[in-house]
């Protein structure tokens, strides 16, 4: 069912502590579901993930966020799923951009102190997974556990 499928995790600014932990958890969960995960982020976000998994048990391909957007815009690359980490207005902009550039499902992972306000700004088609997670990743992890099986089997 998930054969040859891949997913890109578009990381936002790593200023909210849960991002790296949730990203590693999602890498694990996607691999377990047979989906090849790719990380895209700015230098700091990428390094946090890479340093947290020195044995590369979960982290596979890692690419620059701008390069990822450029390759999508130039139709050089596409992914089966887009998981976009959103805790600010810029995250919403990146989610809208990949939604416009690809026909693949976009899953918006919305977290942080203002997750409700951020979620309310999103009026383009995507799956919203939202929780008030700032330092404690558990609320967002639970939401992901609930929706991921549905996402990978239905979208």
């Amino acid at each position: 069912m998930s054969e040859n499928k891949d997913a890109v995790l578009l990381l936002g600014c790593p200023q909210v502590p849960v991002q790296t932990g949730i990203a590693l958890y999602l890498l694990y969960a996607l691999k377990k579901a047979g989906i090849t995960p790719v990380i895209a982020g700015n230098r700091a976000a990428r390094l946090l993930v890479e340093v947290s998994d020195p044995g590369r048990h979960y982290v596979g391909e890692v690419i620059d966020l701008d390069r990822c957007i450029a390759e999508l815009a130039e139709k050089k690359r596409d992914f089966s799923y887009f998981f976009v980490f959103i805790h600010n207005d810029a995250g919403v902009s990146y989610a809208a951009t990949v939604q416009a550039l690809s026909s693949s499902p976009v899953i918006a992972l919305i977290y942080g102190e203002h997750y409700k306000d951020i979620a309310a700004q999103i009026d383009f088609p995507c799956e919203k997974v939202a929780a008030k997670a700032v330092h404690n990743p558990t609320p967002l992890k639970k939401k992901i556990e609930e929706v991921l099986p549905w996402v990978v089997s239905n979208l």
């Binding site: 815009a73 995250g91 902009s93 951009t97 416009a100 550039l101 383009f124």
Partner: protein
């Protein structure tokens, strides 16, 4: 044409939202063009919630530039070649 960050630019709005940038362009630049995310400007592809409004005033171009950690900047810079290219690609937005 070169890298946006190496060009002489002015920042009109800092840490703004995509909506604030769109509203500013539409209110201050009667000649504005609406484009989709991924529209190429200089060496970058525009990030944003569609429609993304680009303001034009002669050779002046005003457009949003998003960075993950700093939100969206509304940038103003001058480039005759790029302004001409945008006018040739995009019809003026209907008001």
């Amino acid at each position: 044409m070169g890298c946006i960050e190496s060009m002489k630019y002015e920042i009109l709005l800092k840490n703004a939202s995509f909506k604030e940038c769109r509203d500013y362009v539409r209110e201050n630049y009667p000649d504005y063009r609406d484009v989709q995310p991924g529209f190429r400007m200089f060496d970058k592809y525009l990030i944003g919630v569609p429609p993304i409004s680009i303001g034009l005033d002669g050779d002046i171009i005003v457009f949003p530039y998003t960075k993950p950690c700093y939100g969206t900047f509304l940038m103003r810079l001058e480039d005759a070649e790029e302004a001409k290219r945008i006018r040739s690609l995009q019809k003026p937005a209907k008001k």
